[in-house]
């Protein structure tokens, strides 16, 4: 029954749209309003819809037979209960999808040091282009979100890390389980996911039940659902509850809310438009010009890459991010002393450590290189570090 209603409503909007399109063709006409609808309501994003009118949506023809036949098309099959269970594993803020389990901050730290630190840095401080997870007390840092260099160009900007910015813990738990560790995701158990979540809550000094989460803390489902993140109320428009869509719709109905600008075409500024205080602002310093490959528009033939580029290319693909310098704690290519120290173990041990992973380094650096290719990349790195 509901399906039918929605269809009727969609087609009922057609008449209104025809009227709008006719008006819209006149230059300088009043801006179109309520151009079209879904479920009898105006567009949710502040933009236009192009419903089907005379078998066309905007400039595109559509086959009118499709609307009549669509309710009879069921090309697939019904998923089995086990299939639904296997894939329906998303985690929502109210605990939907969040399994029972537990993990301590202490265990989380061990996991973090083994599988996360090489990218997210000590105590979640970030590095290597990966996001920081903590910069200290989340409640204090949440207050930096009003730091806007619009007001003070030289001042500090806002600190947006998990603790200070993210509205929900469920997001973290869900993403750790499904997206982490980045080179080999979906390998953490439920309890490991709780442990890592506990550790990240710990380093952000998040509170639950009036207590700061410390190293001894053991997180479980019940406790996780009690946590209110410091910036939970930091987002607009509201999206929760039965009014969620209407609240979003109302928000985008007002361009002032989101930095957009509406004007009747006939009233737009064509002369003497510049704000009196506006001036030419150039790129500061050299700007960002390290483009890969370098910017060029010539049509000369490319230089042929010299042989032996395989290991170099694989190094750049899989290893350079950590081994280019010492910022990730790995021996840097070109650092003869660091590699000499590594080589005291003997080349076979160096190979096997790399293949199996060592310290912060995941097996083969997270690459899918064959053992032979991996060894040639190691050789390349050693040869360039003498």
């Amino acid at each position: 029954m509901f399906k039918l209603d929605r269809k009727l409503i969609i087609s009922a909007s057609v008449a209104a749209t025809v009227a709008m399109l006719a008006v819209g063709c006149v230059p300088g006409a009043a801006e179109p309003e309520g151009a079209s609808t879904v479920n009898g309501k105006p567009t949710i994003d502040g933009g236009l819809m192009y419903p089907v009118v005379n078998d066309k949506t905007g400039p595109y023809y559509v086959n009118p037979q499709v609307a009549a036949d669509a309710p009879k098309i069921f090309n697939g099959r019904t998923p089995t209960p086990n299939e639904l269970k296997a894939w329906n594993t998303d985690v929502m803020p109210d605990g939907t999808g969040l399994p029972e389990g537990e993990g301590s901050s202490e265990d989380g730290e061990v996991l973090y040091e083994a599988q996360c630190v090489m990218c997210h840095g000590d105590f979640g401080s970030g590095g290597g282009g990966y996001p920081a997870l903590s910069k200290g007390n989340a409640y204090e840092l949440q207050k930096t979100l009003t730091n806007n260099r619009y007001r003070n160009a030289e001042g500090d900007g806002p600190t947006r890390v998990f603790g200070s910015y993210w509205p929900k813990v469920s997001t973290l738990w869900w993403y750790i389980r499904d997206g982490m560790p980045h080179p080999m995701s979906k390998t953490l158990s439920t309890d490991e996911t709780y442990a890592l979540t506990a550790y990240i809550l710990n380093i952000n000094e998040i509170e639950v039940d009036g207590e700061v989460i410390d190293e001894e803390f053991v997180l479980n489902r019940e406790l996780m659902l009690k946590i209110d993140m410091p910036n939970d109320k930091g987002f607009e428009p509201n999206i929760d509850g039965p009014t969620g869509l209407d609240d979003v719709r109302a928000f985008y109905a007002n361009p002032e809310n989101f930095g957009a600008y509406k004007v009747k075409p006939s009233e737009r500024c064509m002369t003497n438009c510049k704000e009196p205080t506006a001036k030419v602002t150039r790129i500061a310093g050299a700007g960002i010009s390290e483009f890969l490959p370098p910017m060029a528009t010539e049509r000369t033939l490319p230089e042929v890459e010299n042989a032996g580029g395989g290991a170099k290319a694989q190094y750049e693909e899989a290893c350079m991010m950590c081994h280019a310098d010492t910022s990730m704690g790995a021996p840097a290519v070109g650092d003869a002393n660091a590699w000499a120290a590594v080589m005291t173990k003997g080349i076979d041990k160096v190979y096997s450590n790399g293949i199996n992973g060592i310290n912060g380094m995941p097996p083969k650096g997270g690459s899918s290189l064959s053992d032979a290719d991996f060894k040639s990349v190691v050789d390349y790195m050693i040869n360039n570090s003498k």
């Binding site: 933009g47 697939g76 009747k264 890969l292």
Partner: protein, 433 residues
């Protein structure tokens, strides 16, 4: 070998010759005379046989899937270390829009953004599940999905961080990096509402989770309004299967909305009465305002435009006084159809109307053009400003930052300016208080 080498040189000089004389011949047609002494010299590219004209070319059996001319090797996506997150696996490679023609991006140049690397999905193991608040949940194979009646639509996809590195001032002296976090294609797929016509959306359904099968299990929450309007599940891109970088074999397409919402390697659509709070709609893709509040669920890419020629990549250093040159650019809006583009030569103080050209389609790249007679030594500030049929116009930088501040990263659509120097170099500048 020597012969071959000299032919390469010949080819280069031929290109230079055309570049120089193209403007000249236009000048001649326009009746303003002026023949330079260069043009009188006999061109070796004409006077001698060219190497490719005196030997067999490749057999048709070579390159059964064609590739561009080797001479076009500089026309590529590019990346930069600033945007190198995750060993280039949570990163972006951007489109050379200064080399783009028309309103379609070739599939190999379509900008590429992923959150766990480009997944390579086996189409034979591909499954799409649609479930949650529907009367009849469904699992589809790729073949079953593609049996639904298809529609083909031309739409841009834009990362909402396009231009987002430049809220506080210009940083990239490049149109590829300043505006190339977007591309445009002709997409083929099925409207989700066509599939739902049978599955039956329940009345309580307000939101749809779209989830990818990639390493990051990329997910986003979509309001049902969009699902019932023009949301598509697509498998075709410019007449062929999606490229892996665009989500092969199947991605979500929400015309005009944030590229991130157009989930790639799509595996699952679930309907619910409450939103999900996925990572990429909380930690990122939210726009922090000076109030300290951030806009979440920021959907449509607002009306926008850029000059693509000239640009830092395509300067006017080779132009001579009196040359007639086409100023060209792109305009686009995720909220409707481009209705006009204005062009300023003085950084947005005074505008003239530019001309739209080619197809003008909803939520699509739109080409615009303005013919200009170049005066040697002139210094210009070229600013374009687009409007759409939803009633929006691009704001000035001051207008936009007054509301959004400079920390919001996403959805920056204020007008952008290229400075043309006296020598014809082109630099990215901003006109702002």
């Amino acid at each position: 070998m020597d012969n071959k080498k000299s032919n390469q040189e010949v080819d280069v000089s031929k290109r230079d010759f055309f570049r120089k004389t193209a403007a000249l011949s236009v000048t001649a047609l326009a009746g303003t005379s002026l023949i330079s002494s260069n043009a009188r010299a006999d061109d070796p590219a004409i006077m001698h046989h060219v190497s490719w004209g005196q030997k067999w070319g490749d057999p048709v059996t070579k390159n059964l899937y064609g590739i561009p001319s080797a001479y076009e090797h500089n026309v590529t996506r590019r990346n930069t270390k600033l945007l190198a997150s995750g060993n280039y696996r949570a990163s972006i490679a951007v489109t050379p829009i200064h080399e783009s023609m028309g309103i379609i991006t070739p599939n190999g140049l379509f900008f590429s953004r992923s959150h766990g690397g480009t997944a390579h999905v086996n189409p034979n193991e591909y499954r799409l599940m649609i479930h949650g608040l529907v009367e009849k949940p469904i699992v589809l194979t790729l073949e079953q999905l593609k049996r639904y009646p298809s529609v083909t639509r031309t739409h841009f996809i834009e990362c909402p961080a396009n231009g987002g590195q430049e809220w506080r001032g210009p940083q990239f002296n490049s149109v590829q990096f300043a505006k190339g976090f977007m591309s445009s294609a002709e997409w083929t797929g099925v409207y989700i509402k066509t599939i739902l016509a049978d599955l039956g959306l329940k009345k309580e359904a307000l939101w749809m989770l779209a989830e990818g099968s990639d390493n990051s299990e990329m997910g986003r929450t979509v309001p049902v309004d969009k699902v019932l309007d023009d949301a598509m599940i697509v498998w075709g891109q410019n007449g062929e299967a999606l490229r892996p970088e665009q989500g092969y074999p199947v991605r979500l397409l929400l015309p005009g909305w944030e590229g991130n919402l157009c989930v790639k390697w799509l595996k699952r659509l679930e309907f619910s009465s409450e939103p999900w709070y996925c990572k990429e709609e909380t930690s990122k893709y939210t726009a922090l305002k000076p109030s300290g509040k951030a806009i979440q669920h920021f959907y449509a890419n607002e009306v926008n435009s850029t000059v693509t020629s000239p640009s830092p990549e395509i300067p006017w250093t080779h132009l001579k006084d009196g040359d007639i040159v086409e100023i060209e650019g792109l305009a686009w809006s995720g909220m409707g159809t481009i209705t006009g583009v204005d062009l300023s030569f003085d950084g947005g103080d005074n505008y003239v109307e530019a001309k739209l050209k080619g197809l003008v389609l909803p939520k699509s790249w739109t080409r615009w053009s303005y013919m200009h007679t170049y005066k040697k030594g002139e210094q210009l500030l070229l600013t374009s400003r687009a409007m759409d049929d939803a009633g929006y116009i691009q704001p000035t930088i001051d207008q936009e930052t007054k509301i959004m501040g400079v920390e919001s990263v996403y959805h920056r659509n204020a007008v952008e300016t290229w400075e043309v120097t006296a020598t014809g170099e082109v630099n990215h500048v901003q006109i702002r208080s």
